[in-house]
Symmetry: C2
């Protein structure tokens, strides 16, 4: 029998098919191998992107030249741009706001890697730190209402370039989904004098069956009303509402936890297409402290169809409890092998970097 579960954070309903015992291989849709051809994100092709906004160059070097580990550039086809006219016009029915904002690409490696799991956790920490720093820079702009950091991996998840990268879009109005979560967090706090996420975390840790990892101050769980098979949330155990206030140690721990859980996901679903995104409180909102920042990981292994578009309901053919169990059961050996592959990439990269620096 199916169950209809409500997500406490968003209020949305999900039909969880509990009768069919779905297995991970039911969701092996594949991401597609390397497509070949020219890649504007590879080291040496810096002149093929718009000029860089920021970069991590551990051994120094000129902007827009080689020698970087992480590089931030404006999106070549930006959804929004800094300096666009910032009007706000309401008609009798329609409201429209000018396209002031930002759309940046965080290129996560100089090598042509297809997933952040191919980076070592230390290099992945450089990526997360760069995201935090860009977040910090962009929220200085008062006309920006919200900054979203997100990642698309695989064409089916919306990635048009396969070279591993994240993106960031800064928008001039408050996004609906975040506003909705904030509203529900505020209402819960008013009623219960406690953070909704903290309360949920306590219950989930107590029950245990949806927990995938619990270490270094972070919990990874498959949410009770997961929309998608193997959907995951990464939450800090300590209550905090702003991702951009993480210090170096917290970023390092986050990168290790997220890296491990993505490695488990890739092992379980054989390199699935996926998205992840960082939900953090806006800077300007007075009720921000009721919120609890977190990361949502969304494997893209099923199709969203007319029913979902029409209702905001989702149908999830995989029980979150079973998904969590499969992810916990990925063997240490498999994770070690994947890490070894990542480190092999690493060594090559450090050598080629050293070679380039001698030029």
């Amino acid at each position: 029998m199916a169950e209809v579960r409500q997500d406490a954070v968003s209020g949305r309903w999900v039909i969880i098919a509990t009768e069919r015992a779905a297995r991970p291989h039911d969701f092996h849709v594949g991401r597609g191998g390397p497509r070949g051809g020219f890649c504007p994100f590879c080291e040496g092709n810096e002149d093929r992107t718009p000029p860089e906004i920021a970069a991590v160059r551990p051994a120094g070097g000129r902007p827009n030249g080689p020698g970087w580990q992480v590089r931030v550039v404006p999106n070549k086809f930006p959804a929004l741009q800094p300096g666009a006219e910032g009007y706000d016009r309401g008609g009798s029915i329609h409201r429209v706001v000018g396209g002031h904002g930002a759309h940046e690409v965080i290129i996560e490696s100089p090598e042509h890697l297809l997933s952040p799991v191919q980076l070592s956790p230390e290099r992945f920490a450089l990526v997360m730190r760069t995201c935090r720093d860009r977040y910090r820079a962009l929220i200085e702009d008062e006309r920006i209402s919200y900054v979203l950091v997100f990642k698309n991996v695989g064409e089916r998840a919306g990635a048009s370039i396969e070279h591993t990268h994240s993106q960031l879009i800064a928008v001039p109005v408050m996004p609906k989904r975040v506003a909705e979560e904030m509203r529900r967090c505020e209402a819960f706090y008013r009623d219960e004098s406690e953070c909704l996420f903290c309360s949920m975390l306590a219950e989930e840790l107590d029950v245990g069956e949806r927990i995938v990892a619990d270490c270094e101050g972070y919990v990874v769980l498959s949410p009770y009303a997961a929309r998608f098979p193997f959907e995951l949330w990464v939450l800090p155990k300590e209550h905090h509402w702003h991702f951009h206030e993480l210090d170096a140690a917290q970023i390092g721990a986050l990168a290790r936890v997220l890296h491990e859980v993505l490695a488990r996901l890739e092992a379980c679903l054989r390199e699935p297409p996926f998205n992840y995104l960082i939900h953090t409180a806006p800077v300007s909102d007075g009720e921000a402290e009721h919120y609890h920042w977190h990361i949502e990981v969304i494997p893209r292994v099923t199709h969203v169809a007319g029913f979902e578009w029409g209702t905001g309901f989702y149908i999830n053919p995989m029980e979150p409890e079973a998904a969590a169990r499969h992810l916990r059961e990925v063997s240490d050996e498999e994770l070690r092998n994947r890490n070894a592959a990542a480190l092999a990439v690493e060594t090559t990269s450090v050598e080629s970097l050293a070679g380039k620096e001698q030029l």
Copy 2:
């Protein structure tokens, strides 16, 4: 420069890329041709679906045998089922409801057609009438909160069987998206003493640039804050909140208008994958009369990625004004050719049907 537009009905924001002049062929993603193999929806294979719930048999005939034009069967893998335990349990955080509901398939033709556009408008009216009748039957059940009729065409739009069909899911709780639209309609009515949709329709007809069709009591338009390229709404001009109260003449007119607009869409985007869905007021809600039923048509020619999941924002690379213009410009000749092809199918079908009846 991009524009950030707000949809008055749902409150969601859409980034409309107005600088790149996108053309219809930028969105030719294809639907995939006939996949071949066994089809459980074709005439003669009635024993390969669960026993039928309803059927249109103009020349009579036994249930679950041939001779039908439209056939309704339970979904073989139902998301929800009649008679499932109807509990409603709230924990400290999580809420869950039993899976009582219905999940039906409306098979739209005995022939192996891939799109409702291949039906004549008259036969398409039989399909719409059947949807209305199933809607009427299901809302009799007090435990049902909402019934959604929807259609998935093409694998990318979530269709697992290519033979043209619609689906219907009856759910035991009120869907979020409909509740949201109802709330905004009610608020608008409170402020303006007028229906939000009626008010929008008047403004859109006045401006004209987003109108695709205006005939037989229906307006088809590309909404001001369209989420997707070539998204369309079909709205009755006269204010009404319940789809299921349409009479035979109104169903006939709706079928003709929707058929024409889908033919235009197929001509313009070369048989795109798409969804459509019927948004109607729930029967039990006291505020239903502020609502305005309508159909949303969603071509699935772009990917939804991390940004959309994270914010509820959409990025639409095609101005709705340009989309409406392209759809208006589909030539009468092209539409006539497509109708002729549909009628050819029709003739064959009537013959084969007659043949079978003589057995």
